[in-house]
């Protein structure tokens, strides 16, 4: 199922130099690519990679044209990484036969649900009362759409996704297996040593072009809705608490936890395993490093970090023990500064 280089450029643009009929069998990483494979060099500063790769053809920026042409076929484009992203999508489309829309006969669809004619519903999906499914949407096997939920046009739910009652998913979204949209937020009033449940009356509203990774959870709001903006990308195993707002085009890596009522700006990035506490606000364009705990609002764009540096265990043990004395050390330092100051002044 190879494709000639010229077919790629016909579809995606770019300037093609060298053997336009070279048959590409696979897209491959630079380091392992072989002469029938196509790879890319993202930036001119990686020029040395052009010389060492065995790839049959390369996607390179203009600054590497000379080097790339010297070794074989290449596609010149201003942003090779972007080109490569589009190429992966095109490549996949070339290699997957289009499947006509279908509704599996085992799916359980409530008579009051509304399913677009060209939507696909796989085996054992459950579509509850008054749920609405938009054109070209694809509902994976075993997915469950609650009453009054909505799935937008061209949105894909992989197998085993839950969309709770009254929750709304926009257009062109991708929800991976195990995603749970609209479980109850975690809200309880303490009473005589026990917890009284606060019924969660809000829902979840997810914008367009959102991707949500496997087993990620987004809870419904307590009163208002939890809101995920357009173009947000969430990796796997992320927890988004109730009432959270995530601004457009923000991306979070795996295992992030965002506590209730946090407001996260647009164009933020949050590294894997970070924890964002509740009832705080992050401005637009805030970048949080992996495993960092956000304990306060951040008003300025920028890069923020807080994590204990890894070390060999023996060194860590010593430093961690000293850390528990750190404030005392600081006081001892101040004391000795004062003693020395005082002595030097008097002598």
């Amino acid at each position: 199922m190879s494709r000639p280089l010229h077919a790629i450029v016909d579809a995606l643009g770019g300037r093609l130099l060298g053997d336009v009929c070279l048959e590409i069998e696979r897209l491959a990483p630079l380091t392992t690519a072989n002469p029938s494979e196509l790879s890319f060099v993202a930036q001119a500063r990686y020029a040395s990679q052009v010389l060492t790769t065995r790839a049959g053809a390369l996607i390179v920026p203009p600054g590497l044209e000379e080097a790339a042409v010297g070794r074989g076929a290449c596609i010149i484009t201003d942003d090779p990484y972007l080109y490569f992203a589009r190429l992966t999508q095109w490549w996949r489309a070339q290699h997957r036969l289009p499947v006509p829309p279908f509704v599996d006969p085992t799916a359980s669809i409530h008579p009051t649900a509304s399913v677009a004619e060209d939507a696909t519903i796989e085996a054992f999906a459950v579509i509850s009362a008054r749920a609405r499914i938009g054109p070209r949407a694809h509902i994976g096997a075993h997915s469950v759409l609650g009453a009054d939920s909505f799935v937008g046009a061209s949105t894909q739910l992989y197998p085993r996704v839950t969309v709770g009652e009254a929750c709304v998913i926009g257009d062109r979204c991708i929800l991976h297996s195990g995603v749970v949209i609209g479980a109850d937020g975690f809200g309880f009033a303490p009473h005589q040593g026990a917890w009284v449940k606060i019924a969660q009356l809000g829902a979840v509203r997810i914008g367009d072009d959102v991707e949500i990774g496997a087993n990620t959870c987004i809870d419904r709001g307590a009163l208002d809705d939890t809101v995920i903006g357009n173009g947000v990308k969430l990796d796997n195993l992320i927890q988004i608490g109730h009432n959270v707002q995530v601004g457009a085009h923000t991306a979070m890596a795996g295992c992030v936890g965002v506590a209730g009522t946090a407001i996260i700006g647009a164009h933020c990035t949050i590294g894997g395993g970070a924890i964002v506490l509740g009832h705080l606000t992050l401005a637009d364009r805030v970048n949080i490093s992996a495993a960092t705990v956000v304990t306060r609002s951040i008003a300025q764009p920028g890069h923020y970090t807080g994590m204990f540096p890894i070390d060999d265990n023996a060194s860590w043990e010593k430093n961690a023990a000293s850390l528990k004395q750190l404030n005392r050390l600081r006081e001892r330092l101040r004391s000795i500064e004062q003693r020395l100051d005082s002595f030097l002044k008097n002598n």
Copy 2:
């Protein structure tokens, strides 16, 4: 679907002042509530909020009666947050038509299973041999109950919950989508560089009034059972290892991990993303901050924390580098203290 204020007080008590017929259309947060909405002020020290909200009616403590009456209808009650919690439950009940119990014909129910007459079994649920389901229990679509498992009265399983073989869930519990009760604990004996599985022969026993969040996992015990006490509240994406015991009314926020054989007391709270190591004991009424790692037993009630403070990345880099020298810094400080002491003594 509005409700008059007096209907709320008829149902939940409290002292109603002002327009008893005011129609409430929605419960809303103070900051966004409008004149047809009802909100609450939890404590007298938030008196200023009474003056700025546009809510049509307010639930307030006695200390705010005068201020609240001055602006419109209000309900006076000793604990507005608790009142509000009960109100959300009542509100939801008012707005959901009761559905008579049913067993979906697509559910797969083993002939030896025992299902109470007024239990509900949704589509594609699997009820294995000898499983027992109590009165008014609700088993969500695609949930799977293992052989010899038990689900108590009025317990609700949302869609896609797994309850493993021989595991027991008490009365009035709520298990959200994706919960896995009774997967094998993580136990292996090392042997010649490989791992030999320790079959996990215990089960999981969950008390009454327990709520378990989406995609949370509670492993079965190795020999004895893993035990979750009455009234425990677990948020989403929590991991509870084998043989763990969690005392009554303890609450854990999202993304917590509790390693095997930890014993956690009653009335504890554990913040989001915290990790509790195995084979240790926490007393009753221990509060662990978010993202804290509990590496030792804690015998005294209290509030415990350990997390690296967030900072701008450049400052963090400098401090983290110094942290790896901290024990050396401590030694240098001691040395200079000794030198100064010695000098001052001799002069």
Copy 3:
């Protein structure tokens, strides 16, 4: 369903002393075992436990033979923990009636799928086009096997496992409920403030004898495959990013996150809640403590740690505040060292 001691030794070996006909009703932990139960003491240095347990019989190492014989029946074996692991497996097999292989009539099996004659397919499982299922494999209820996927001989999928398109699971693996194999890796090219998806063209390849805990996710590779070696053991709620390679017999505890393109050696252990950043390499036999963030490659075997030590909250607050001044403290210390040096030199 008790078993006489001699039946255990007949099956598993070891030297049996004392009442060979003693009926064992249960395997139990040392501290709670009663006279009809069997327990083990792992090492000779736990000799005191031999004297205090009420267990009816004990598995002990040769060094404890004398002490154990003095109190009752015992099995002598070089590695009691390994013996115990095998005993748990044998015990379970004794207490579970073998179920002949079956294919539940509700399962949805594509006509082009290939299912071994003695494989078991439970209710509502979905087996897609060209999927292949090996001999004695067991596919749990509601599990979904994507097109062209492969499940090896004697592998068990618990209910609600997803194996994505073209992913491969080896022989004798165990995948617990909620596992998602082969969701898309998290890859996007930034473009004008939005994210352009990089289609994930690789798959996941899992070796033999791998165990994967509940709700754990392993993403498919971007171009090449994500690869999990033979004998790897992953606990619950773990995230493995795209292109990751995990070496044979490595074990990870719950809630670990491994970012994309990390290469982890063989025989490593990674503690619960640890985060491994992407594009780095860990050598064989690296042990990472719980909750540690691996931010760089590690070339040497050994034990590595980085976590903030837990403290009472008031102490933590003081030390954390000082930590944000640590580099400044270091400079102050250097300054006072220089001043004292200079003074002492000149006097």
